[in-house]
């Protein structure tokens, strides 16, 4: 299975990098709203099946390692 985990700052956490990108877009006259969010993707493959147990292990991985629940949210996509 291919797994892609998306990690983003929680909505109310300041994102300094996003803000800087927003400002840079404006100075390039790109017509975006200045509120930009920069996040991370982590991609890897796992042998095996997409079972509820597996999802439990994956959630634990996301909570413990791949994201910091104090400031970040995650979600993932699993594809074959």
């Amino acid at each position: 299975m291919n797994i892609r985990v998306f990690v983003n700052y929680k909505k109310n956490v300041l994102d300094p990098q996003g803000e800087a990108v927003g400002r840079a877009m404006q100075s390039l006259n790109f017509p975006a709203h200045p509120h930009v969010r920069v996040g991370k993707t982590i991609e890897f493959t796992v042998d095996g099946q997409d079972t509820p147990e597996f999802r439990k292990t994956l959630d634990k991985l996301c909570n413990d390692l791949l994201s910091n629940p104090v400031i970040e949210d995650y979600r993932y996509e699993i594809s074959q």
Partner: protein
């Protein structure tokens, strides 16, 4: 055997030797380096989680280091009331481990900052206060991710329990309420972005780190 200050060494630590020398050579206090794969801290009287780039600071600063066996020992040590101080990357590791509240993110200038830094001393504990340390101290910083973040409830908690140790006089990184260092509620786990071990010798920007490290060790 003497009780010693245990300085944890992770792959990528780079202020471990500096912290060791601040205790061993300047404070003349026995100190020992503890490899991150060690499961015990030996006869430690206090623990330093030093600065650097543990595991390259990949993913998030401190995210990988917190799983090291020695960190499990540090957690137990802290749970039993042992004194722990995280400096810079060590502060980040303690936050990631849940030993300290909040999190540290990218500096708002998005650049690394290495400079002398004046801090306002807060009255936090019987030893960490203006009386012992003075109104203000000059302790250098060197970090790219020292922007302290915590939610409103958490901040209110910190203020109420006097858990804030220092605030930046001029905020170098966007840190919430100028927070430069905090402690846990119990008062035995400390974390700060500035480097007291770089403020202990005559040629350093100041020698304010000496009193600070002594205050940390004080019973």
């Amino acid at each position: 055997m003497d009780m010693h200050v245990a300085v944890i060494q992770f792959p990528g630590s780079n202020c471990d030797q500096d912290a060791y020398h601040a205790f061993a050579s300047v404070l003349k206090t026995p100190a020992k380096l503890v490899w991150h794969k060690d499961k015990t801290l030996g006869d430690a009287r206090a623990v330093i989680v030093p600065g650097g780039f543990s595991f390259g600071d990949y993913l998030r600063c401190g995210a990988i280091a917190r799983f090291s066996p020695a960190m499990q020992a540090v957690k137990e040590f802290a749970a039993n009331g042992g004194k722990v101080m995280g400096i810079c990357n060590g502060f980040q590791i303690l936050c990631e481990s849940g030993l300290l509240p909040g999190a540290l993110i990218r500096n708002n200038c998005l650049e690394f900052r290495c400079q002398e830094q004046w801090l306002k001393v807060e009255d936090s504990t019987a030893h960490f206060n203006k009386e012992t340390l003075g109104q203000r101290v000059n302790i250098p910083i060197a970090h790219g991710e020292g922007n302290y973040r915590i939610d409103e409830a958490g901040l209110a908690e910190l203020e109420k329990n006097k858990q804030i140790l220092f605030r930046y006089e001029e905020n170098p990184n966007g840190s919430l309420c100028d927070i430069a260092g905090i402690r846990n509620k119990a008062g035995n786990v400390f974390g700060m972005m500035p480097h007291p071990e770089r403020a202990v010798e005559p040629f350093h920007p100041s020698q304010h780190g000496v009193a600070l490290l002594k205050a940390f060790l004080a019973e």
